[in-house]
Amino acid sequence: MKSLLFFRIILALFLMQSVMVFAQEAQSLQSNAAVEAQVQRLSKELRCLVCQNQTIADSHAGLAEDLKLEIREMATKGMTDQAIVDYLVARYGDFVRYRPPLKLSTVLLWLGPFALLLAGGIGLFLMLRRRQKIMVDTPLSADEARKVRELLNKES
């Protein structure tokens, strides 16, 4: 009986939470759909510096909320994606972008995985070639061939 009550309370809390979430979303849809789409697109591209491994779309940190508001205002003014991203990069640096630009300082980041793949590929190629040289085909003798056939026939 007690656990049923507990379950009901939990359920009630869940339902309340979903109501609150809807209320928030409705508020942000005041402006037109194009602006909203731009805000959504950009906030998925930008890092929340407080929580670092979340985009500002995912984060509920105060700063992320402020930045979303700021982005929405800039979007309403008709600024392009590039202009808004530049505005934030000027303040927070490239780290704010989830996709950092290709620069001298980020070359390793961008090309490192491909370099590793290439190195691994070359290593594999060399190893296989060497193996091929070491391993010599040894044909079966007539006696061995007969034994193999016997065994195979027995199995089936």
């Binding site: 510096l49 407080v50 670092q52 105060g62 700063l63 402020d66 930045l67 700021e70 990069v89 000027a90 303040r91 927070y92 640096g93 490239d94 780290f95």
Partner: protein, 175 residues
């Protein structure tokens, strides 16, 4: 024998990188604002909401801007350090009270002492965004021409003052 050393060399290289990584602070994001002019603002003062303060007033002086808040735990640790810095009279300290209420901020200064020549209220955090603040406390050292010379992320410690900030301030003042 030599061939066996290759995996060992790779292993040591990785260990080297990881070991270095242990001592990096991922929260310290280098600010692109260092070397740039201070973003301008005009914000109401804490002591007198009728008057505003703007960084232009500090032109010709080396000064420090400290973003703080009464709700910020790390500021508790930092505050006495700032108070002792203020007592030396070396450099004017401007407080940017970030997303705070006037009442809480005033209580904070009444209780802990007021190291600031001026404190301004950034209630909605807009000026904080212009300065790239992502976590209080953060502190900027600004030169006579109004250019940001240094940014301290996290609390100003006694060591940071002694080793970095005070020598920098003196160098900038001598310019």
């Amino acid at each position: 024998m030599k061939r066996a050393l290759i995996p060992l060399a790779i292993f040591l290289l990785v260990v080297g990188f990881l070991f270095k990584g242990l001592f990096l602070n991922p929260r310290e994001v280098p600010s692109p604002l260092v070397g740039k002019p201070t973003p301008q603002f005009s914000l109401p003062r804490l002591d007198n909401p009728e008057t505003v303060f703007s960084p232009k007033e500090m032109l010709g002086k080396v000064w420090m801007l400290n973003a703080w808040a009464s709700w910020c735990p790390a500021c508790i640790e930092e505050h006495p350090v700032l108070v002792s810095l203020a007592k030396t009279g070396l450099v004017p300290l401007v407080g940017l009270d970030y997303k705070d209420t006037r009442q809480d901020a005033q209580r904070w200064l009444d209780e802990g002492g007021n190291p600031y020549t001026v404190t301004v209220m950034d209630v909605d955090g807009r000026v904080g965004i212009d300065y790239g603040v992502y976590g209080v406390p953060e502190t900027y050292v600004i030169d006579k021409a109004g250019v940001i010379a240094y940014k301290q992320i996290g609390p100003v410690t006694v060591e940071a003052l002694r080793d970095t900030i005070i020598p920098l301030v003196k160098r900038l003042q001598a310019q």
